[in-house]
């Protein structure tokens, strides 16, 4: 088998002492950076890039280090989501939904361990898929045109519909607010300024991280203030819970499906960890309907799905970068820049011309993921101790980290004020029982949807039939219809069965 000989080459590079050290270092720094709210993989890679260059590392070693930081951060993002209800990075938003309730119940250890294992499985599964079918996948990625993206977004929105709680109007309004936020900035099609109010900081649109951190972290500070004033902060139960084999068996198919979905979404240029985790969460909620489902209140399936998916998407994003020279996410764009700095042009020829780099990186990712799991599991006890820190110390630290993180994006105080404003809005919405996740998803999905719908129609000259053109669009259209119809169908089947049973009893 060709693949095995390539992988052998790769492992011979990855197992060099220097590279082994770097992958461990990268993963460790990544976990650390990812767990800090507001500071995510992009920062991590951007910080280490000049350092790697200055140290004069050979290109494959530098890439191994930077990639380690990337997926390490994707791994670490879950920690503050679960423990503090503050997403460590954008891909970890969905993790708050069921992770935080679990830690509230004193099952923080269980949640952290389960999510670590799901993340591990997601990364490993995605790596295997990458090794086996990277060339086909890069073809798949370029075949994915505007119409296909439109369907993917429509599908994501239908998955979102499952998040409609007791008040559909509120969820929809949340999504709409997110969608409106997404339209702010220079319109990429016409160059027209939309809703920028003459503020140049809005020209590039509302920064996603500012919204995430404002709505989640800052509003969380207000929530803590209120609980403190009400005197019901109390001591949260710590618990010594850990993941059980039964838990793992219960989520094995969830993890499998989420890994595949996350990986494929990661492969597409233009969609990343946040969309991958949202789609996985929504889909799993659909699957779980009627099966003792309590998503949003600490369901382990709702925790495993986004974590497997966002880590798989981080691996997936590497596929177009390595095989086509096209970044699949913001962070891989930086990795791409890093490769260029070392005079290596990623692209179709990378695997032929520099197999040591391509396969060395892939092999190091296997090593890195095992290292992450080994590193993370024993540290869970330590992480959970975070909860025993008094609010008087914890809150100033959260405030500091969010401010530093947001300031470091643009180096401009404007973002800080905007973040505080969003924090107030987020807090009020939470008090009125709005869920914040739909707002964020509206923001992420809205732009991709609008841009691609307009692209599709520009290509066809206004002919809407372009949306149903080609096998991928058919499959996705069918999947969307199924996602809409299936739950009610299942319900009616179940009802009929119940009725039948009732009739039998009567007979």
């Amino acid at each position: 088998m060709d693949v095995f000989s390539h992988l052998a080459t790769g492992f011979s590079v990855a197992f060099l002492p220097l590279n082994l050290l770097l992958v461990l270092l990268g993963c460790f720094i990544g976990t650390l950076i990812g767990s800090l709210p507001g500071i995510g993989p992009i920062n991590g890679v951007a910080i280490l890039l000049p350092l790697a260059y200055a140290l004069g590392l050979p290109p494959e070693s530098a890439l191994i280090l930077l990639a380690g930081v990337y997926y390490g951060a994707e791994y670490g993002g879950r920690i503050s989501s679960i423990l503090l209800n503050v997403p460590g990075d954008a891909g970890a938003i969905m993790t708050t939904l069921d992770g935080y309730p679990l830690s509230r119940k004193g099952e923080g250890g269980r949640a952290l361990a389960l999510s670590a294992i799901s993340s591990f499985a997601g990364s490993m599964g995605a790596l295997l898929m990458m090794v086996i079918c990277a060339p086909i996948l890069s073809q798949f990625a370029v075949q994915f045109g505007p119409s296909e993206y439109v369907w993917l977004m429509v599908f994501a929105f239908t998955c979102l519909a499952t998040m409609v709680g007791s008040r559909p109007a509120k969820t929809i309004i949340g999504v709409l607010i997110g969608l409106v936020l997404a339209t702010i900035g220079i319109d990429s099609g016409s160059g027209v300024l939309r809703f920028t109010m003459g503020i140049p900081n809005f020209f590039d649109g509302v920064d996603f991280l500012v919204v995430v951190i404002g709505m989640f972290a800052i509003s969380e500070i207000f929530v803590l203030l209120e609980s403190w004033a009400r005197n019901d902060l109390g001591v949260r139960p710590l618990g010594k819970s850990f993941v059980t084999v039964a838990d793992l068996l219960a989520v094995k198919w969830v993890v499998f499906r989420s890994t595949v979905m996350g990986f494929l979404i990661g492969v597409l240029p233009g969609t990343g960890a946040s969309i991958a985790s949202a789609v996985a969460y929504g889909t799993e909620k659909r699957f779980a309907e009627g099966k003792n489902e309590h998503f949003g209140e600490g369901d382990i399936r709702g925790l495993a799905a986004p974590e497997a998916s966002n880590n798989a998407s981080a691996v997936g994003a590497m596929v177009p970068m390595l095989t086509l020279g096209i970044p699949g996410s913001g962070t891989t764009a930086i990795l791409l820049g890093a490769l260029m700095m070392f005079n290596i042009t990623p692209g179709p020829l990378l695997f032929e011309q520099r197999p040591d780099i391509a396969w060395g990186l892939i092999a190091s990712m296997f090593v890195g993921n095992i290292a992450l799991l080994v590193m993370n599991l024993p540290m869970i006890g330590l992480f959970v101790r975070l909860l025993s820190i008094r609010q008087a110390y914890l809150v100033p630290v959260i405030a500091m980290l969010t401010f530093v993180g947001i300031y470091s994006i643009h180096g401009d105080s404007f973002d800080l004020f905007f973040m505080v404003l969003l924090g107030v809005v987020g807090f009020l919405l939470r008090k009125l029982h709005f869920s914040l996740a739909p707002v964020i998803l509206g923001l992420v999905l809205g732009e991709v949807l609008e841009v691609n719908l307009r692209r599709a129609l520009s290509i066809s000259g206004g002919d809407w039939s372009v949306l149903l053109d080609g096998p991928i669009t058919y499959v996705m259209a069918i999947a969307t219809v199924v996602a809409i119809v299936a739950p009610s169908l299942m319900r009616s089947i179940k009802m009929r069965k119940l009725l039948a049973k009732a009739n039998e009893v009567e007979d």
């Binding site: 339209t183 016409s190 110390y393 100033p396 500091m400 505080v420 520009s458």
Partner: protein, 146 residues
């Protein structure tokens, strides 16, 4: 009641969105949809759902007392002050001031709060700048003094 207030605000907002979107000055466009369509559709949808919320609001479940409002306002003022001071006073001074008040707000004694905030701001300044190489402002006020 709060639901209705929010819905009212959203209603005004959606009107503004539609109005502003129709004002976009588009030199020319190739595309059938253009930059206006999406915001207009969103504005209309937002109007519909705001009206729905006005007709069928939830019952209030949030009853902030005066004390809670005071604490929340204090937090808000503190964070606005932090944002305002962050660049001008520099990270260390701003974090020390805001951090100690925050710590005190959450029940720490003033002295211990100040000590904690001082240690936190100085240590994290060096961690963030040296280790993480982040862009942390050192302050323009201090620079002009020295």
């Amino acid at each position: 009641m709060y639901d209705r207030i929010l819905a009212g605000i959203l209603l005004v907002l959606s009107g503004l969105i539609v109005w502003a979107a129709l004002q976009f000055d588009v030199p020319f466009q190739y595309e059938p949809l253009g930059p206006k369509a999406f915001p207009v559709i969103l504005g209309i949808l937002l109007t519909i759902f705001s009206v729905w919320l006005i007709i069928k609001p939830d019952k209030n479940s949030w009853y902030p007392t005066a004390d809670i409002m005071k604490k929340l306002l204090a937090g808000l003022v503190l964070m606005i002050a932090y944002a305002a001071l962050f660049e001008k006073a520099g990270f260390i001074l701003a974090t020390f001031l805001v951090g100690s008040v925050f710590s005190w707000l959450f029940g720490e004694t003033p002295k211990r709060a100040a000590v904690f905030a001082l240690i936190m701001s100085v240590i994290s300044y060096f961690l963030l700048t040296l280790l993480l190489q982040l862009n942390v402002p050192s302050g323009t006020w201090l620079a002009s003094v020295f």
